[in-house]
Amino acid sequence: MSGTVFDIVLCALILGAALAAVSGRDPFAAVVFFVVYGVFIATAWLRLDAVNVALAEAAIGAGLTGVLLLGAVGRLARLRETAPPARAAGPRLLAALAAGGTTLLLGWVFLTLPEPAGLHAEVGANLAAAGSENAVTAVLLNFRAWDTLLESIVLLAALIGIWALSPDAAWGGRPGMTQRTRAGGVLAQFGRVLPPIGLMVGVYLVWAGTKQPGGAFQGGTVLAAVALLAMMAGRIAPPRVSAPGLRLALILGPAVFLAVGLAALAAGRFLWLPPEHAYALILGIEAALTVSIAATLALMVIGPPQEAP
């Protein structure tokens, strides 16, 4: 009973936060409500026992996307100082119609489709050969490895897109703006205290991902946050975008994933994992993916190089 009340209140809060995020005029407030919406959605996934998705939503949906959007709001504000915003009603109306139409269509599809049996039984039957006791990890890295491989490449493509925005003179330099902190100040201390704990949590999430909820995306996001904090606190300088080590870290995950897939092609099927080596292969792919995801996400937040190297 109390569970039902909780769920109804949670649904109302999700709808309220979503409405506040899209209907406000102030972009900053919209982003804040978007982050709140992400936290509520993560709670909803927890209620549905989808801990993996909840972790990913909290870390990437609410946390990382929120930071990226806040950066965009700051950039927009600086642009507005030079150019007045165009306030045309037509495009807004079209966008609202398109979004509303898509929602109605999705709702109609959801209500008319037959109740799916789900893939629980099939995944459970094949779990022994998958190399992971966690069904979600088994699906992500074995049964549906294609999707995960392409996701990791999409991330890389997004970073290349962001880097393409850098001014010509700044290319090859350190990404982002120069960060200055007061030596011995609060932020500098915070950047000293938190990284060891964050490193441990991030690596644990990847390691535990083979048996429990967790994995490369969740762990990688935590590690990216640690790297960002250390950079903002002035503990480490962002690496130059032309540094070979950085480039290697960025492509390591997709490259290892592709290599494993191609090796399997020699044995007959692309991305097929032999059951006797599946655990080691999954752990290896997850470890390499974590390095690339952490590096890519951190660099996406910092943005393109701004100053000449």
Binding site: R78, M177, T178, R180, R182, V186, L187, F190, L194
Partner: protein, 108 residues
């Protein structure tokens, strides 16, 4: 009997935590300037969460879980304190004249 006592203590402690969250929220909305709003906010983060963690720790099944709850509170404490300091410094600079720039936000 012991179980009843722990349950009652849990209810009392989490209720105390909720009072701090409610007071902090009211303060955040009603207080006139950034500094007093921060004051209200940090009470919710520190004391509110602290009481709730204490109440939940009484229901924990293992010392392992108690340690995790304590770690959550400690991390929230450090993060909230740091964020409050940074916001206050930026607000102070804005009050002294001069719009806070993006670079000033990164600094302290």
């Amino acid at each position: 009997m012991l179980e009843l006592a722990t349950d009652a203590l849990t209810v009392a402690l989490t209720a105390a935590g909720l009072v701090f969250f409610l007071a902090g929220t009211v303060g955040l909305i009603r207080f006139p300037d950034t500094f007093s709003r921060l004051h209200a906010l940090t009470k919710a983060d520190n004391l509110g969460l602290g009481f709730i963690v204490l109440g939940l720790a009484l229901q924990a099944e293992s010392w392992h879980a108690v340690f995790k709850l304590g770690l959550i509170w400690a991390l929230a404490l450090v993060a909230a304190g740091t964020a409050a300091q940074l916001v206050a410094r930026t607000a102070l600079r804005a009050d002294e004249g001069g719009r806070p720039t993006r670079q000033a936000e990164g600094r302290e």
